[in-house]
């Protein structure tokens, strides 16, 4: 029971420390894996988790934290190990004063190939999904879709045209790790990180492993998914590929009617590759690539409506060089993003509207250990984007400089402070900040505080759409603060975060005469609420129980009209209860979404709904390395819409096979 019992180095403490508090990732027993098979991060979880005496575990962690933090920034080899694992290392360095939920492999594997459904059932993020599989936009802590950043390996990938990501155009199964981080993050991730950010991270291990995964599913409405992943690594080389094909006829019956979802079929293909090479102990080269190609017919609202479809294509690449020189960590990143869409407003004619936007990003990141307890970080970012549609062309150049500091004071207290200045020719560039503290009041209780100023840049469409684009728009600005409470014991962890967020200059499309509407910086919105995450696990002999739950209460009030924003529920709750015994596991998922208003005068609303899913899974093989599962989705055949006029499916089924080699 000494600090020395920390494996190799206690730098990992940061990760460990948030892990047990985070979502299922940290709780996973990982029984079927040997430590050597796992990424470094997970080896540690294994080391502490699994069969270890739980009380002992807690004390070890605590001791690691108390003592181990001291050499935190000094030891080159371990820093390198950790930095090598993920491209987005800010999580490790600068996100300790806000909560986050990490979605584990098993959650990813069990849920459908839709990022919407995955997050809807496992986080407080609310989705506005235009019918199953159709356009889906998030609302994070009661903000808008454009106030949610989607970050791929540290790079913000929101659409240049729309300023948001359609969550049904991301295949979560081609990513290694998904992290949900509520709250402001513009200082690190730039535009849109107001309500929160969703992080899609790929892991690069250097652990002499060779693993293959095949996930296949088939279900109602001829829905199918085939996802394959392979990881290969030596001590100096690492390669990771994931690819998937998903599709559905999506012709579900609307519960309680004779009508069916017409013209809702879709398919998508995706490929994600990452590779790393350690040139020498001080230098690592990494590359990441992602390709997505999907076609969706847009389901009809009324049976005679004109059939349309939409084609999304995106590809992106990221190359980076990491250098570790004494007290310095240097990271140079060069990224290229390309997004294209084609909209076919009348299916038969094959004519289409199109858009194509490309961005090039150069990011330089220099970290410096000023003192054993003080870490400094500077980031310089340059992004050039150009977009072209059948209606207009637009381009923009933005630059930013950030400086961050983290300081561990004594054993229990830590603070982080960051500043960022944007420079651009397109809009008034804001000056941003973030300040956070973390304090361990007891070995079972931690409080965090964070306050930040964040922004959402106007999009190409906002600025340049012919007739309505407003080139004088300013970014939306958000000032926010949150207080987090984290309580944890061996079996239970509870996080409760209260937040306040004031958004000014919110961009709204208002009537501009001639039946047109144009964006203006008009609205002021006051948002406040509470979100909570509960995790509980317990085993009785070979019976293992796990309960995860979230609940969020949110008010998003337009200050002018004193009404709730449209499509922002006051209440959302999720729960999942898992039970496993030997080779059998079963789980129950529950989702409650409170009523939402569909008009800004709050006169029309969509009813609250409760949807639940039931799953049963059988692990087979000597190493339990393949699993057969069945899911009953919308178990109680709830009739609901989460967007007006867009009924969702009733009870339906899915079968899956997950195979690991």
């Amino acid at each position: 029971m000494k600090a020395r019992s920390c494996p190799r180095n206690c730098k990992f403490v940061n990760m460990l420390f948030y892990k047990p508090l985070s979502a299922a990732g940290g709780w996973e027993g990982k029984k079927q894996n040997k430590p050597g098979d796992l990424p470094v991060e997970k080896q540690l979880i294994f080391a502490f988790g699994g069969k270890a005496n739980d009380t002992m575990k807690n004390k070890i962690i605590l001791l690691c934290f108390l003592v181990g933090i001291q050499p935190a920034f000094a030891q080159n080899d371990t820093v390198q190990l950790e930095e090598a694992l993920l491209s987005d290392s800010y999580f490790l360095r600068f996100s300790e004063t806000q909560s986050k939920i990490i979605l584990s492999d098993s959650i990813l594997e069990r849920n459908s190939s839709s990022l919407t459904s995955l997050l809807n059932y496992n986080s407080s993020v609310y989705f506005k999904e235009n019918g199953l599989g159709m356009v889906s936009s998030p609302s994070f802590r009661g903000t808008t879709a454009q106030q949610t950043a989607v970050v791929w390996n540290g790079i913000n990938i929101n659409s240049a045209f729309l300023g948001q990501t359609d969550f049904n155009t991301v295949n979560p199964k081609t990513t290694d790790q998904i992290i949900v981080k509520p709250g402001g993050g513009s200082v690190v991730y730039g535009s849109s990180a107001i309500g929160g950010s969703i992080h899609l991270n790929d892991e690069l291990n250097f652990s002499r492993a060779f693993k293959n995964t095949l996930l296949a599913n088939y279900g109602s409405f001829n829905s199918y998914g085939l996802n394959f992943g392979s990881q290969f690594s030596t001590d100096v080389f690492s390669f990771n590929v994931k690819s998937g094909r998903n599709g559905s006829d999506n012709n579900y019956k609307f519960p309680g009617t004779d009508e069916k979802n017409l013209n809702g079929q879709f398919y998508n293909n995706s490929l994600n590759i990452s590779a790393g090479y350690k040139i020498d102990p001080s230098n690592i080269i990494k590359i990441y690539g992602n390709l997505y190609d999907g076609e969706r017919h847009f389901s009809l609202i009324s049976s005679n409506a004109t059939k349309t479809k939409y084609h999304d294509y995106s590809n992106r690449a990221l190359a980076e060089w990491n250098g570790f020189f004494g007290k310095f960590i240097s990271k140079l990143k060069i990224a290229y993003l390309n997004e294209e869409y084609r909209y076919y407003p009348t299916l038969e004619t094959k004519n289409f509207n199109f858009g194509k936007a490309q961005s090039s990003i150069v990011k330089y990141d220099l970290g410096f250990s000023l003192h054993k307890n003080i870490f400094l970080n500077a980031i310089f970012d340059f992004t050039g984007s150009k977009g072209k549609t059948d209606r207009y062309s637009s381009d923009r150049k933005t630059g930013s400089a950030s400086i961050m500091m983290k300081h561990q004071v004594g054993r229990k207290f830590l603070y982080e402070a960051s500043l960022r200045k944007e420079i651009t020719d397109n809009y008034g560039a804001p000056f941003l900040y973030s300040l956070g503290i973390k304090y361990d009041l007891a070995d079972f209780y931690r409080i965090t505080f964070n306050t930040s100023k964040n922004f959402r840049a106007p999009t190409f469409n906002d600025l340049s759409w012919p007739g309505t684009g407003n080139p004088d728009l300013n970014p939306e600005i958000s000032y926010q603060a949150e207080i987090g409470n984290q309580l944890y014991s061996d079996d239970l962890s509870v996080q409760v975060t209260a937040y306040y967020n004031f958004v000014k200059d919110m961009i709204r499309w208002v009537p501009a005469g001639g039946g047109l509407s144009a964006p203006e910086n008009t609205a002021k919105v006051r948002i406040y609420g509470l979100e909570s995450v509960l995790k509980y696990k317990k085993n009785f002999g070979s019976h293992f129980f796990e309960l995860n739950g979230t609940y969020a209460y949110n008010v998003s009030e337009n200050r002018e009209t004193q009404t709730q924003l449209i499509y922002a529920p006051y209440h959302k709750a999720t729960a999942s209860l898992g039970y496993s015994w030997n080779r059998i596991s079963s789980y129950y998922q529950f989702l409650y979404t409170g009523k939402v208003f569909t008009d800004s005068t709050n006169k029309n609303e969509l009813n609250a709904y409760t949807v639940s899913n039931l799953g049963l899974e059988l692990s087979l093989g000597k190493k339990l390395n393949y699993r057969l599962g069945v899911q009953v989705l919308n178990l109680l055949n709830e009739k609901y819409e989460n967007v007006l006029s867009r009924p969702m499916p009733g009870t339906n089924f899915s079968f899956y096979l997950n195979f690991k080699l």
């Binding site: 407003p345 004519n351 309505t468 001639g514």
Partner: protein, 346 residues
């Protein structure tokens, strides 16, 4: 009962002997609420002569939603026809009870407006947004509610006016910019003539043998701004009698006629002039700006009142303002989403 008698005693083109004119909606005004594009929340409100307001009457009477994006409405004989742009349908109801009588459900693509002449319905259709060549007028059988035939026309056929066996189709341009009025003979159902007018003819009416066509002109953002124009056309020979140019950067719309005067709007300003005008009015009658109306979304003038539909922010309940002819606000109330038209049932 008295009101009903009074109404019946008023002579009106639409009154046909032998029709039962009783019903909840016999005496008053329909307000057509377009609803949001891509949602089934188009609706009809009814404002009775007795001052009572009923919103969402189609749903209330028929137990189902009207459809997606109600573009326009037409009252003729005992029926009301609602053109639903995104649903690609025309919903037919009894104009007094609003009970559904049927639906024109096939053969329409982006339908806009409807007129009736010679016992046939004529519905303008924009067709595929990406194709300028597939726009058409659908000819509707008013008993079977089906499309009998189509008449191919230039891009963007929009509002229409029927007169003496002819239909005048204003080509606002749809997804492009139009500058013509097509003349269709209802005997042959063919385009017999094309009249050149200004850019974007957005509204028209016929009175005393003259067709008045208001052209908005291309807005500045097109990069090719043109001036608005008012055309007066002789319906005997379809020749242009006169035309008037609006000042630069003014883009008028919503031309209507009432009591030997014409009325139109520019942004949130209401203008009026005599039918025998020799020049355009230089000043507005009044502005709706005090009511916070950005641009007039629905507009009508009837019996000494001016009716303005305000779409507010497009996601709020719309508002209706009723003014006298001097611009004094007399009444206002909330209706459905995006009130774009007023139709008088008396």
């Amino acid at each position: 009962m008295t009101a009903s008698l009074l109404i019946t005693s008023c002579s009106n083109d639409d009154d046909t002997p032998g029709i039962d004119e009783t019903g909840d909606f016999a005496n008053g005004m329909f307000i057509l609420n377009e609803g949001n594009f891509g949602s089934n929340n188009a609706s009809v409100s009814f404002y009775g002569n007795d001052g009572t307001l009923s919103n969402n009457i189609f749903q209330a009477v028929n137990g189902e939603s009207l459809g997606d994006t109600a573009q326009s409405m037409l009252l003729e004989d005992e029926k009301a026809y609602v053109v639903l742009n995104v649903s690609n349908t025309v919903e037919v109801v009894n104009r007094y009870t609003f009970e559904s009588l049927g639906t024109v459900s096939t053969g329409l693509v982006n339908p806009r407006y409807m007129v009736i002449e010679n016992g046939k319905g004529y519905v303008s259709n924009w067709g595929d947004p990406t194709s300028p060549d597939d726009d058409f007028i659908a000819v509707i059988n008013l008993s079977s509610y089906s499309v009998e035939s189509t008449i191919s026309v230039a891009e963007g056929p929009d509002r229409m006016e029927e007169e003496g066996g002819k239909i005048y189709v204003a080509h606002s341009g749809g997804y492009g910019y139009g500058n013509t009025v097509s003349v269709i003979s209802t005997t042959s159902n063919t385009v017999t003539q094309t009249i050149s007018v200004g850019d974007i003819p957005n509204s028209l009416f016929e009175e005393n043998g003259k067709l008045y066509v208001l052209c908005g002109g291309k807005p500045d953002w097109t990069g090719d701004e043109t001036v608005g124009k008012l055309f007066i056309i002789d319906t005997l020979n379809d020749a242009v009698i006169s035309s008037f140019d609006f000042p630069a950067a003014q883009h008028p719309s919503q031309l209507v006629e009432e009591d030997d005067k014409l009325y139109y709007t520019i942004d949130n300003q209401i203008y009026g002039a005599n039918l025998n005008l020799t020049s355009l009015p230089t000043g507005a009658l009044f502005s709706t700006g005090e009511q916070g109306v950005y641009g007039v979304y629905g507009f009508a003038v009837q019996n000494g009142k001016i009716y303005v539909g305000d779409a507010v922010d497009y996601i709020s309940a719309g508002k209706v303002y009723i003014y006298n002819l001097n611009g004094a606000l007399e009444n206002s109330f909330e209706v459905g989403l995006l009130p774009n038209g007023f139709y008088f049932n008396d």
